[in-house]
């Protein structure tokens, strides 16, 4: 059996057409876009064409797109950049408890620098309440940062409403769209977004390239100081092949987005339904319908997530315990704790994230494999015994 990759939320394979679009920019059109000569200006033209392509995709102007090294840099840039630029205006930032670490750790860093951060709670489905955002605003608030969709549990936030609130109050609104850019339609004007983070490797583009959309007029101190690339907003020699690849990936995403959303939603729901038919003691984390078309996040009672991942991996199925960047950490997911899961259940969570290559047969393979794995691990688990015992006692 070919291995089945169900971890597209962690990263995606680079599409062959993207690789081909990039290739000429390594050895042939290799100039530095800042150089005046032909080699440089040819590279510059490619970068500017890519910028225009991506801007169109977001309903933005080309000058509002700044290329970065990935989602993390974009998040750091948006948050710290706003903080440094607007510290005279205020020192308060509003975000949510289930943001990506790139947002949360940037906020924690700023707390040490004297900023105040409100981490809004979420409900049991992982939703931020727009009313909570409105309620948290003070005259010191300089930024609201709420992600578009969560990378672990897939919940899609009401960012249009949050954006409207931010706009009414004249506060900058940042959204981490790393999980949605290329997967869900996004128009920065309709959603009232001032700052938006995206990362190419989540949409079949290359790793190491991302972007920050910066609405015209938004003040931001650079994170990368140096040369005057990217209109003076982000120094460093531009990653020309990466930028070209990112634009190609966005172009491909745009062409198939609506079709792919429908296809993945149906595969997703088939997997969820099938698992609930075959397994007891499981829980779907995240919102039942307002969720990413490709995301299934489950808690499995009485067993630990890593054991499931390893067992499935031995059977040729790749999935994850949550976000890839905390896979090596011992902490239970901050996101699962925030939706109210007890530690025990949050330790037993797994995420399947589907992608372009996922077919029905892959779903069926998981439906076959997971119950075996869960059965084997539960047989080893002292918690499963206890639970059964208790239930047996209670039913007496």
């Amino acid at each position: 059996m070919n291995p089945i990759y169900m971890d597209h939320a962690a990263t995606t394979p680079t599409d062959q057409r993207v690789v081909e679009a990039m290739l000429p920019y390594f050895g042939e059109i290799y100039g530095n876009p800042s150089s005046l000569h032909g080699f440089g200006q040819e590279a510059r033209a490619a970068v500017e064409a890519a910028r225009a392509e991506i801007a169109r995709f977001l309903g933005a102007k080309p000058t509002e797109i700044v290329f970065t090294s990935g989602g993390t840099e974009s998040d750091n840039f948006a948050i710290k950049g706003t903080a440094w630029a607007k510290r005279k205006r205020g020192n308060h930032i509003i975000t949510s408890a289930i943001e990506h670490h790139a947002v949360l750790e940037s906020c924690r860093f700023l707390e040490k620098e004297g900023f105040r951060v409100t981490y809004l709670p979420v409900d049991g489905d992982g939703l931020v309440a727009p009313a909570d955002v409105a309620g948290a605003i003070t005259d010191q608030t300089i930024l609201i940062s709420i992600m578009h969709a969560n990378n672990e549990i897939g919940t899609i936030q009401p960012i249009a409403e949050i954006g409207r609130i931010a706009k009414e109050k004249g506060i900058g609104f940042h959204t981490d769209a790393v999980q949605t850019f290329g997967h869900l339609p996004i128009n920065v004007d309709e959603l009232n977004i001032d700052l938006l983070s995206a990362s190419a490797h989540k949409l079949y583009g290359p790793k190491g390239i991302g972007l920050l959309y910066i609405r015209k007029g938004t003040k931001l101190t650079p994170l990368m100081h140096g040369g005057d690339q990217e209109n003076g907003r982000r120094a460093s020699t531009q990653n020309v092949p990466g930028i070209v690849g990112f634009a190609k990936a966005a172009e491909l995403a745009a062409a198939s987005m609506h079709e792919e959303m429908a296809r993945l939603t149906s595969l997703r729901d088939r997997l969820i339904r099938g698992l609930f038919e075959r397994l007891d003691g499981i829980r779907l984390n995240g919102h039942p319908t307002r969720r990413l078309p490709n995301n299934i996040n489950l808690s499995v009672e009485s067993i630990e997530g890593e054991g499931i991942i390893l067992s499935l991996d031995m059977m040729g199925i790749a999935c994850s315990t949550g976000s890839a960047c905390t896979s090596s950490s011992l902490e239970p997911s901050h996101c699962l704790l925030a939706i109210g899961l007890p530690h025990e259940l949050s330790h037993g969570s797994i995420r399947f994230s589907l992608g372009k290559q996922t077919r029905e047969g892959d779903i069926d393979a998981v439906l076959e494999a997971l119950p075996q794995v869960v059965g084997r691990l539960r047989a080893m688990s002292p918690l499963y015994d206890q639970k059964n015992l208790k239930e047996r006692e209670e039913s007496r």
Binding site: E306, G307, A379, D385
Partner: protein, 128 residues
């Protein structure tokens, strides 16, 4: 392929001595679900020698592999010898553990100590 050694993966895939024991001579229960690891270790002891050991574990791959390994290591050892089995010895027997997973070997050592303590305590109470 994995962050784990082959030996760890082998013990995780085919753990030895899984299960609860009927009438054990010593039981060690350590960990709690909040920290993500629970290990129950059961010992059978005859004439001061450990004749059987089994486990039940809730935890990551390393927790399961160290549980399996510790049951293998103690079998045939005297109680005194078993007391000197350190977490490092368990980890080494598995061909090493990633640093972030060393605590699993500590848990295995603690479970063993707890089971041996339990055995000694029961001996004290037992009419000779």
């Amino acid at each position: 392929m994995s962050q784990y050694s082959e030996k760890v993966m082998e013990h995780f895939a085919h753990p030895r001595n899984v299960g609860e024991m009927e009438n054990p001579d010593g039981v060690g229960r350590v960990g709690n679900p909040t920290c993500g690891d629970i290990m129950n270790l059961y010992l059978k002891v005859k004439d001061g020698v450990i004749t059987d050991a089994t486990f039940k574990t809730f935890g990551c791959g390393a927790a399961i592999a160290t549980s399996s390994m510790v049951t293998e290591l103690v079998k045939g050892k005297t109680v005194k010898e078993a007391l000197s089995i350190s977490n490092r010895a368990v980890a080494e027997a598995l061909g090493g553990l990633p640093p972030i997973k060393m605590h699993c070997s500590v848990l295995a050592e603690e479970a063993l100590k707890a089971a041996l303590d339990d055995y000694v305590a029961r001996q004290g109470k037992k009419p000779e």
